[in-house]
Amino acid sequence: MEEKRTAHQALVTRVLEGDGRASRAERRAAFDDATLIEPLRGLISKVAKHATQIANDDIVAVKEAGLSEDQIFELVVCAAVGQATRQYQNALAALDVAIREGS
């Protein structure tokens, strides 16, 4: 179990704090699905909540706004890892409560 939590934390630390083409602040905002300007905000929000609705135009709009493909790659990864992390941590916290209350 500990290996999985450690591996998860290593992934989060790498995408947020390691070297990247997008700034750390932008990666953190994408991870948190917060405080980004359009059209990037729309793309990141779809990654987090409605990934099946993403279309070519969403990517094109962000490129036309001046982001490089590497920056888009990083920010989309951060958005996906961020949303999945919130769900993972919510469930682990619920597990802790269930175990504590059950004992």
Binding site: V15, T52, V77
Partner: protein, 193 residues
């Protein structure tokens, strides 16, 4: 894929590796593999580590159970690529494709063990609603699932809630049945390393 860097932005060594894989498998390199090879130090390497640990590391869940969870989470997220990939892999791991199809068709009537059914129910809620409560976890515990099994299932869920989003965002090509069969054989023999 929607980003040109994910189609052609690889180092010479990776391009040679892709050519070798394509020659050996007689199939295009799946987009899931291409994604983890692109600037692997940023995402691919750390993601492969947690995915392999979740899917092939020590667990009371069988490989088939964990691949079924991957398929089920992907179905909940409506991720076409991952549904196909992990339906095929779960069926191969169980040597029973009908069992997998039954779960994906109707979890409540599928002929599976109650602890697995209860865990899949909880994963579906987490994936669909983005959160669960202690009561949801208690129902799985009451069905005979251990704390360790729940943690293991949540790690599988994390991996595929991430991968499903990236498959849809980057626009993974969805191959036909032969492509998924080929991928399933690879995942069952090599895992996610």
């Amino acid at each position: 894929m929607r980003l040109e860097i994910l189609n052609s932005g690889y180092t010479f060594g990776t391009k040679v590796l892709f050519a070798f894989i394509q020659l050996a498998s007689r199939r295009p390199v799946p987009d899931a593999a291409r994604l983890v090879f692109y600037r692997a130090d940023f995402y691919g390497d750390p993601m492969k580590k947690i995915t392999h640990e979740a899917m092939r590391g020590p667990s009371a869940w069988s490989v088939g159970d964990r691949e079924l969870m991957a398929a089920f989470v992907s179905k909940t997220n409506e991720c076409e690529f991952c549904i196909g990939a992990h339906t095929a892999t779960a069926g191969g791991a169980y040597h029973d494709q009908a069992r997998v199809e039954a779960v994906l068709s109707n979890l409540e009537t599928a002929p599976i063990e109650e602890p697995l059914r209860s865990t899949l129910r909880m994963l579906a809620k987490l994936t669909r609603e983005h959160s669960v409560e202690a009561a949801d976890i208690r129902r799985a515990l009451a069905a005979g699932v251990s704390r360790e099994q729940i943690e293991d299932a949540l790690a599988v869920c994390f991996a595929f809630n991430t991968t499903n989003r990236l498959a849809d965002a980057f626009g993974f090509f969805v191959p036909g049945p032969k492509g998924f069969e080929s991928g399933a054989k690879y995942l069952l023999s090599r895992g996610y390393k």
